[in-house]
Each structure stands twice: as structure tokens, then as C-alpha cells.
Subunit: 208 residues, 2 copies
């Protein structure tokens, strides 16, 4: 199971410094939506992070104008870009084709969509489907049972990523469960005093 | 009825130049999502457009982390910010409160949501609800009948904006219909050889 470490709400310089430290520890390093919207894709392109081992995910959260945003996101050195599941089918379909042609990856963020919508967009074989609990939502999120439920409903979806306040225990549980392809961790890595130590411990917790 | 002129997919410098030309002609000048994601809110803040007459809408298309994005958007001189109707109720509710406290405005973009979701979020009295046909979607959009349908279903929603390939005839028809508060026009103003002339003609078409 892969570890994705999300970096958010810091300066772009600090994000790049932290990305270099986590390079090769986290499998995927995410520049969160706050970095994209605060600094913009041109600035991210002009200050390339040049990871040696990890992949760079830019959390674009595209919801319309898919081809335009994905073109800019790949130019800004994103290996993986994100689109909202709430987008039109046409948006997702068009950028899936672009992503496949460029031999890159896309993550479809399932934030706030219902099962009918997921069924409608479940046919993109190489896409990663991201179970995602809103940062603004009240209430708790049980990542392990949510992943089990999702897999039962959509067994044909092969690549599942899970995000939403995941801690060591949940990461370990998800690894043991064996469904999720990727665990996405934000503040519990990037927000700690020693993100390298935290990421290393997450990787250890996930090794079963 | 107000005219909102959307500027997209140009350099920030060109967007600012065009915004100055349209200041006082269009009631609202929109910096589209492409400008937000290409240049970022910090750059937009550092290069203030300083409109004298028109309001500035920043098309953030927020879908999560609402309080953070709206704080940054208002700091970047947005008078009106946008949130996706597909966001969680908590996201919309939190930023509605922030917007009201700052005496600013928000537009809830109804892209790709169904009537049940609209019903759930129909209680934000001062928000503008934006009927919006996806740029990526195939098929045509009849703005006038879509607005009539919407008003019949949701008569309590007072402020309605309409976007999606609207031309002079549709703008005139919407003005005559008397439901929509705002018509949003993109390429048919900003993409013409003479955007000032086009915006002036839209305003004339909308004067009944």
C-alpha cells in the first residue's frame, strides 16, 4: 500500500523543502489545493520540485474545463492530477483520455457524491478513486469501514485511495484489510514537528 | 438585470487591462477559474485590479476547505466568491456566515447537482444561485427554459444567475422573463475583437 503525504497551507518554498525531505519516504507527495489556488500552476511550474523517487500529485480538484486544467497541471510537473467525481461525465472522460495519452495518472475525488454518481463514472480502469471525508464536514470518518463498504458496492474498481484524518492505527488497519491502494495523510505528517519521522512511522505501520 | 463579464484563459495582465475597460459597463467582472488556478490568489492580491464601478468576482469554485479559500479570496479583493453546490452543507454554511460577516457576496454554482441537493442548500437567502452548463458537457443549453424550470421548482430562491454560452437573444429573453438577477457572459464578450462594444450591446439587449 502506498503512502501519499499531503502538504497544505504553507508557503510554496516550505512545501518544496518538505517535499525534498519526504522524497522517497512517501510514495506520493501531494501539493494540496491550497498551494494550487494560493500560488497558481505557473508558479509551481517555475519552481519545479524535481522529486527523485516520489510522484508529485497536484490536487487541482478540477470540476469543469477539464482539458484546460489538466494540460496546465501536467505542464506544472504533476504526475497525478485530481478531478471531482461531481464533474460531468464528459469532463472526466475527456481528461481520462488526456491522462492516458500522457502516461500519467488521475485521481477521481469522491467527495460528496452518491452511489448513483459513482456507478456512472466507475468505468475508468486506470483511475484512482479517492474516498474523501470533507475537511469542513462535522462528524467522524471510519476509514476502514468506509473502504470495506466501498469495495463491496464497487468491487470492479481496482484502485482506491482513502483520505480524511487517518492516523497510524487506521493506516495499519487499512494495510491489513488489503483493499486500498493508497492512504493519504495530511496534518499527521506535514503538520508534525518531524514530518520525516512521522512519514517513516506511517510506512512502518503500513508494512504487514 | 445585471451583466457579469467573465475573463478566462488569458494572462493576468491582459485580464486586468480588460477589466479596466469593462469597469462600469459590466456590473460584475469575473476572473475565471483559469486565472485563479494559473496565477493563484496571492498574485491576484499583489496586482489589484481596483475597479471603480463594477464588482470583482473570483471564480474560486470552492468545494472543500471553504473558510480557508474564502478568507484568501476576500484578501485577494474579491467582492463575490463562488462555491460549488456539490460541496458539503457544512462547507457552504460556514462560508455563508463568513461572507455575511464581511458584507460580501457568494455565488453557489449549481453545476451538475440534482434537485435534492439544491433543496438541501436552498436556505441561504442572500446567496446568488448560479445555473451553469458545463463547458465540457456535450449538448445545448436553453438558458431561458432552464431559468423558468428552476424558478418553478425553487420559487423561494430570490437571486439567480445564469451561465452557459448566452448570446444577445438569450440575454434579451432572460431580461424579458424577469427571473434572473444576473446573466454571465464569457467568450461572447471577452473573446470578441471589441469586448467593450460587445458588453455595451449586451447591456442594451438586456434593457427592456
Amino acid at each position: 500500500m502506498k503512502l501519499q503525504a499531503a502538504i497544505d497551507r504553507v508557503s510554496l518554498g516550505d512545501a518544496i523543502t518538505l517535499a525534498h525531505k519526504l522524497d522517497g519516504i512517501a510514495d506520493v507527495i501531494e501539493f494540496g489545493t491550497s498551494l494550487v489556488k494560493d500560488y497558481g500552476l505557473y508558479m509551481i511550474k517555475e519552481n519545479p520540485v524535481n522529486l527523485k523517487h516520489s510522484k508529485l500529485l497536484l490536487d487541482l480538484k478540477t470540476i469543469d474545463e477539464g482539458p484546460y486544467e489538466f494540460e496546465k497541471g501536467f505542464e506544472a510537473n504533476g504526475d497525478i492530477l485530481t478531478v471531482m467525481a461531481g464533474s460531468s461525465y464528459d469532463t472526466i472522460s475527456k481528461i481520462y483520455d488526456i491522462t492516458e495519452k500522457q502516461h500519467k495518472e488521475m485521481l477521481i475525488d469522491l467527495l460528496e457524491v452518491d452511489d448513483d454518481k459513482i456507478k456512472e463514472i466507475a468505468n475508468f480502469d486506470n483511475a484512482i478513486y479517492g474516498l474523501h471525508h470533507s475537511k469542513d464536514a462535522e462528524g467522524n470518518f471510519d476509514a476502514i469501514s468506509a473502504t470495506a463498504d466501498f469495495h463491496q458496492k464497487f468491487p470492479a474498481i481496482k484502485r482506491v485511495a482513502v483520505a480524511g484524518g487517518i492516523d497510524f492505527d487506521q493506516a495499519k488497519g487499512l494495510a491489513e484489510q488489503g483493499i486500498a491502494d493508497t492512504v493519504i495523510v495530511g496534518g499527521k505528517i506535514a503538520g508534525t514537528d518531524d514530518p520525516v519521522k512521522a512519514a517513516t512511522e506511517f510506512k512502518e505501520a503500513m508494512t504487514i
